[in-house]
Symmetry: C2
Amino acid sequence: MATVQLGCEDCPVRETAACAVLTPEEREAMVAAGRTRVLKRGEMLFAAGDEEAACATLVSGALKVSAIDADGNEQILALVHPAGFIGELFAPFAHHDVVALTESRLCTFARRDFEAAIESYPALTRALLRRSQEDLLATRGLLELTGHASAETRLAALLHDFSRSASQSSCHAAAHFELPLTRGEIANMLGLTIETVSRKLGDIEASGAIKRTGKRGIDVLDPALLADLSGR
Amino acid sequence: MATVQLGCEDCPVRETAACAVLTPEEREAMVAAGRTRVLKRGEMLFAAGDEEAACATLVSGALKVSAIDADGNEQILALVHPAGFIGELFAPFAHHDVVALTESRLCTFARRDFEAAIESYPALTRALLRRSQEDLLATRGLLELTGHASAETRLAALLHDFSRSASQSSCHAAAHFELPLTRGEIANMLGLTIETVSRKLGDIEASGAIKRTGKRGIDVLDPALLADLSGR
DNA sequence: CGCATACTTGACGTCATTCAAACCGTGTGG
DNA sequence: CCACACGGTTTGAATGACGTCAAGTATGCG
């Protein structure tokens, strides 16, 4: 487990993460309590049931939040992108697993320290509330998707989302991106099987909306068609 | 639209809602800004897209949060129980519809007033953050359920949830309760059809776990079996 | 090179949806 | 009071989408 002192000066999410609302002095105090940590793909930040689950801001990379159901199947509940916050603040233990999808750099804090910060810095609490509401919306979006939509629609919507979040400009979508998820992870996220994902991906490619390049690469050939397949 | 002055003295959720953390003076200030409002079954608090969506604490009754997808199908994303908070705090407009499932009493605030309160009362912000995290967990629970589980499992889990939340003691489940949802609403919530809900409800009854009394009443005959059907 | 992991493809079975019809409790008007 | 309409619900039969099982094909790593 690699941990080093924080260095905020050249932090890529310095302006967008929750800590951006802190004054320089407040930030200084947080630095004293926190550590950066780097996770390799597949490494776990914490597991469901952990009592000492850390709190963290994701600096770079990507994480998944997932649950394991009674028969041992994983279900991905959320993805965490840079500047995202992870941590179950008021629960006595973590409810879900958090695992790195790609090599990821995090800014971690012991939960006690973070809870103390929330007591001290109202602006930080407000920033977290805002983030929490956004997480709620994102989760509800996924729920909407997996609720009624067909396998093809779910998959198209996921691709559509990825193409938007791949171009950080947020205003417009990226024409090419790499899937951060394996087929199995996509299936777990959308409530499908690996085979269905593979087949429907083939169908979407056959429709002309995308082209697969290598195992993980996706070229978006016809963004409008892709949006259409995803139910607008 | 019935609106009257607030009266906190005899409020049933006085101790459990977010405003419980306020000092008497702070509470006084909130009272000046808020109004109570009563919604009949089917009445809408606000609709997706509304710019002046109110913020509110539910005092009694029950609400649903739902989205309408491209083909006009409703999808229920969350239920709100007494002491629950409703309101999209940082978004410029509401993302979802909020509708009363039963006659409901709410304590409403203009969003501007509520945002001002959040700036002024850090304890209120922390209480909302806590509630927001709980909402997030509940939504993820629903996502987990609708992700992989069979129709029967989803339905059993929903019944199991209702029987627990019907007895406010929270420690143990109620033996009898009334479904606050129609078959159609259950179907929309679980990503099923009315017919499937009806059939599987019959199957669960045939298994001996429950007994239906009237259209909406449910007697839980064998809680352990019900828990078992719901995948523990 | 050989094995492991991820992915693709095909044949078949199953479960939930779809379409259709009947049922029931309630309220309305003749 | 009864006939009727209406919303919510139940039930049945047929279809189809997705899952399961089972091979087979890359791609990468020791």
